[in-house]
Symmetry: C2
Subunit: 233 residues, 2 copies
DNA sequence: AAAGATAATATGTACGTACATAATATTTCT
DNA sequence: AGAAATATTATGTACGTACATATTATCTTT
């Protein structure tokens, strides 16, 4: 660290992270305040602020006005999971993407969907199931309910050509969403669609999205055996 | 929007997001440059910059110098997954945490662990298996390998009292890590430990962490049936 | 001593200016 | 025309100042 040359917020970020890693600053420790650090490292407070803000959002630091900045006592790892459109995920693996609509029906939703989206049992909804394939093999089975009130134009979409997954991303951006990851044993019907055996362990992703407080869609995405979702920290 | 009162970066963030949601700015569209937006919204460029930077990191915008800022053509949802220490995850659910060491052995690692961590087959490692319980019921089975070269002090840790999971978080902060999520059928042994039936679908989290380029630990975390990992977007 | 009001303080953020950097557009040269 | 050099431009970031805000510490009152 040379106090003459200009410091970038990234170099401050790295230097603070180094001190945490080398345990110069241990979990729970109060670290110097921004002005002091700025002086130490030869940069402006704004630069230190940017670096510390970033580190806090990464879970390494806890910051509170007046109380100061501490090394996180129980570092919570914040994994960033990229959830692209299925087509891009498959193409990103270098595989050929294909898609097939299984069925599409306009009807009222079952209780669990009402509960997820916070809508009434009489809601006008579209129920769609489809299969996404990678190199011709079943990759993911999608079982989705879409609120027609929230996105009426979905009735005009040609869901034989574009998947509901992709159509929604392009035409119904949302403000809020929930995802649940879990593991389930394949039912007989699911096993048949995904060309595997009943009871096989499958990776399940359940997504619900809202715009403000109106539910848009709730989907159950069931992945073929062997699927692994990766995340770097 | 009042051009007289001061704009916060959050209000700019929300306004831009609103324009994306209402499709005033569609996926792929070039949006006004920072100076123009600042003028429009009555704030400084730095404020607009902060808001747009945030939106880009959230996956809503693509930004490139000179080329300008565009609405992301294929919005990649970036889910933030908090991965706390198991004890805190269980206590956060309002359940009582307990932990039992199953066995701990110092030996050379099998091939797959060598591959994960990038170490040789002759490495000096600690192999630990343990069970984490919530309200007395099996919650997660942990099968972990720790490099003794990277963290020699783990030999002094009393792993009957503190889990390797927690000890490592407190004593061996890392710089880089990988996580894989998947679903597997329980083996006979795994089923017995988790008190369930063989073949039951289980949620699996595989974690490997490095400090710089030396592998620290590789763990296989197998959750009891019914486990769901949540994430808000 | 307990409660309430007040002061002190570290972080949070806005602004304007200045310059850096990367990518594109234009001009010049061959 | 094609390649190379140059200018242009939008974002990226650093700085110093100013003030806001949340929280803690201190003082005052009862």
């Amino acid at each position: 660290m040379n106090s003459l040359e200009q410091q970038s917020w990234q170099s401050v970020h790295d230097e603070v992270l180094r001190r945490i890693h080398t345990r110069e600053w241990k979990p729970g420790d109060l670290i110097p305040k921004e002005v002091e650090l700025a002086e130490q490292l030869g940069c402006a407070r704004a630069t230190v602020n940017r670096a510390l803000r970033e580190l806090a959002s990464e879970g390494f630091l806890d910051r509170r006005r007046k109380a100061g900045t501490r090394v996180a006592a129980h570092p919570v790892r914040r994994a960033k999971l990229d959830i692209p459109v299925i087509r891009l995920e498959i193409e990103g693996r270098g595989q050929k993407y294909a898609y097939g609509l299984l069925f599409s029906e306009r009807r009222t939703p079952p209780p669990e969907i009402c509960a997820n989206l916070g809508v009434t049992a009489e809601s006008d909804m579209l129920h769609i199931t489809s299969l996404h394939l990678a190199d011709g093999k079943p990759f993911m089975f999608e079982d989705r309910w879409v609120s027609i009130a929230a996105t009426p134009t979905i009735l005009d979409a040609d869901l034989e050509k574009i998947s509901a997954n992709e159509w929604l991303v392009l035409h119904a951006p949302y403000t809020r969403g929930d995802i649940y990851f879990s593991a389930v044993n394949a039912s007989a019907a699911e096993a048949k669609v995904l060309r595997t055996d009943p009871g096989t362990s499958l990776f399940l992703m359940e997504r619900t999205t809202w715009e403000n407080n109106t539910g848009i869609t709730s989907a159950r995405l069931l992945f073929a055996p062997g699927y692994r979702k990766h995340s770097a920290i």
